[in-house]
């Protein structure tokens, strides 16, 4: 059996060519400079080293790794060229750390039985992070300022919450009875964590991230409460969509005043106020056209959060709408890759659904917010937006997808016992 990833060298070669073409365009447009050389060396070195490490370590599930290498290289080039070439060292370093985080989280959860046995640890991590947000951020904020670096703990709550929301069939069938009512302890714990998150997001005034958490919880509920009782019929899917719509309408009706303001304000009538970022973001997309103004040729970098909240518009302005859409599709490739290699365990299927909901909802909030289809939320695009916490969190989530594609169901002890059994029978 071939122990190396499928077509690994060919795929790596293609990724190198794609990145080289982008870097060539940067040099042709912005000229040959020390920063351009730094960027070129850094991206190509990361591709090469990443490829070498993968060929030595992993035997399968190269889809997630390859897409990740492609996207991280592209994102480093994008971030280094907004308004002129300047190597985005911080983004690059966090990209590498995200790639490492992906491999580590894969190793941690690749065995679904072991990953589920570690649930008490996930609950512990959840409450440590929630405690950190309540007590260390100060002024009802979401950032912890350590002086040399700022951390956003709510980003790390996402992977932990995904781990909490996934569940195996065996866990669902382990019921307890209290006062004649049958219940599954794990389900109560998940609903409790969801309630804590809703309170936390309200307390932090970070309602933009709430849809992401609710989507993860929604998938968790669907997997736990409904799937075992009824197969996913079309009628059932319609029922779920209707429920989601009702929740949205109720949430919008009872949203705080500042959210209501954003919902009903006309950005073009308030171009210098509330609509400043969105007006510039929309104009930038229009000015970029299909193939963009050219790397470094955009003006959106002057607007606040051009490399985070409205990064889609920044990419469209400089690289064109085709490249913007292509980048989005590539990020969506990560969760979609699970469709090509379906998970073998219910716990991993739950993880994959949770990760897909995080990626899809975050991208939808960011892009639709930039395009004024929904109010501005300040949510990042995974792997593309600037931000260390978001990058690391996305890397961890990508590792879950890898685990769903390449599960390991035998522990070291199991292998030893199997070998002993083999010797005895011989």
């Amino acid at each position: 059996m071939n122990k190396r990833p499928v077509s690994h060298p060919i795929l790596m070669f293609l990724i190198l060519i794609a990145h080289s073409a982008m870097l060539l365009l940067v040099i042709l447009t912005l000229g040959f400079s020390a920063e351009a050389v730094k960027l070129t060396c850094a991206v190509l070195a990361a591709d090469f080293v990443g490829s070498m490490i993968l060929s030595l370590v992993h035997r399968q599930a190269c889809t997630v790794d390859m897409v990740l290498l492609l996207v991280l290289g592209m994102s480093t080039i994008y971030q280094s060229c907004f308004g002129g070439v300047h190597f985005a060292a911080k983004h690059y370093i966090f990209g590498i750390l995200a790639f490492i985080a992906c491999q580590l989280s894969y190793l941690l959860v690749r065995n679904p039985i072991r990953a589920e046995k570690m649930k008490p640890f996930w609950y512990g991590a959840f409450f440590v992070l929630v405690g950190a947000i309540f007590f260390l951020t100060g002024e009802r904020g979401i950032w912890i300022d350590l002086g040399f670096i700022t951390i956003q703990p709510s980003e790390f709550v996402k992977p932990v919450f995904v781990l909490i929301c996934a569940s195996s069939i065996s866990t669902q069938l382990r019921k307890k009875t209290f006062l004649g009512i049958h219940y599954v302890p794990d389900n109560l714990a998940m609903l409790g964590c969801t309630a804590v998150i809703v309170v936390l997001q309200w307390w932090c005034r970070d309602l933009g991230s709430l849809p992401t958490f609710l989507a993860v919880a929604g998938f968790g509920i669907v997997f736990r409460f409904f799937y075992l009782r009824e197969k996913m019929s079309l009628r059932f899917v319609i029922f779920l969509c209707a429920c989601a719509c009702v929740v949205c309408v109720v949430a919008l009706k009872f949203a705080p005043d500042y959210v209501q303001d954003r919902l009903h304000s006309d950005i073009w009538a308030d171009m210098e106020g509330h609509g400043y970022q969105q007006c510039h973001a929309l104009t930038a997309i229009a000015e970029g056209g299909w193939f963009g103004k050219g790397a470094g040729g955009g003006l959106l970098h002057r607007v606040f959060a051009s490399d985070t909240d409205i990064v889609f518009s920044s990419i469209c302005e400089e690289w064109g709408l085709f490249s913007g859409i292509l980048t989005v599709v590539l990020v969506l490739f990560l969760p979609a890759s699970v469709l090509t290699v379906p998970p073998r365990s219910y716990y991993h299927a739950g993880l994959a659904a949770g990760v897909a909901s995080v990626f899809v909802v975050q991208m939808a909030l960011n892009i639709f917010g930039s395009c004024n289809i929904i109010p501005f939320t300040g949510v990042t695009i995974p792997f593309i937006s600037q931000g260390g916490s978001s990058m690391l969190s996305s890397g961890i989530l990508a590792g879950f997808l890898k685990a769903a594609q390449a599960p390991v169901l035998t522990t070291k002890d199991g292998r030893k016992k199997a070998a002993e059994r083999g010797k005895q029978s011989a």
């Binding site: 077509s7 795929l11 039985i113 193939f291 599960p407």
Partner: protein, 148 residues
């Protein structure tokens, strides 16, 4: 589009088009590789699951996931409509390369080789599982790869 072709001599624009097309090509190749990876995944699964399947009078029930529910309920993986069989009757789980069977509190019980099981029990080749009036035999597939 006309304007684009008029300015098509511009190397930068041509390179932009090339990048978009080439990254698309990369994505397509990764997708094709994922398709081949699925076959490899099936092979690895067959090895992990020892190629075990359940058989009943010539009908084969593949064990394509780490948890398989046997029961009367529509969401059961191996479904029987017999009234003696509970909605969620028994569960087969794969752990450390061994298949285990556990009764889920069914009314009529689960029997392995004629003995009613009360705790999870490891399955071996040629074991006979009796659920209601059904009799399932654990067999080893002849190298056939089973997709989920």
């Amino acid at each position: 589009m006309t304007e684009f072709f008029q300015n098509g001599q511009n190397l930068g624009e041509l390179l932009s088009v090339f990048i978009v097309v080439f990254v698309d090509f990369c994505a397509l190749m990764i997708l094709l590789a994922a398709g081949r990876e699925r076959k490899r995944g099936d092979e690895i699964w067959a090895k992990e699951a020892k190629g075990y399947m359940l058989s009943e009078h010539g009908t084969i029930y593949p064990l394509g996931a780490a948890e398989i529910i046997i029961g009367r309920h529509p969401s059961a993986d191996i479904r029987f409509s017999d009234k003696e069989i509970s909605r969620f009757h028994a569960i087969l789980t794969l752990s450390d390369g061994r298949w285990h069977i556990e009764d889920l509190g069914s009314g009529s019980g689960t029997y392995v080789n004629g003995v009613r099981i009360k705790t999870p029990r490891t399955l071996h080749r040629d074991d006979e599982i009796r659920i209601g009036r059904r009799s399932l035999r654990v067999i080893k597939g002849n190298g056939k790869v089973v997709s989920q």
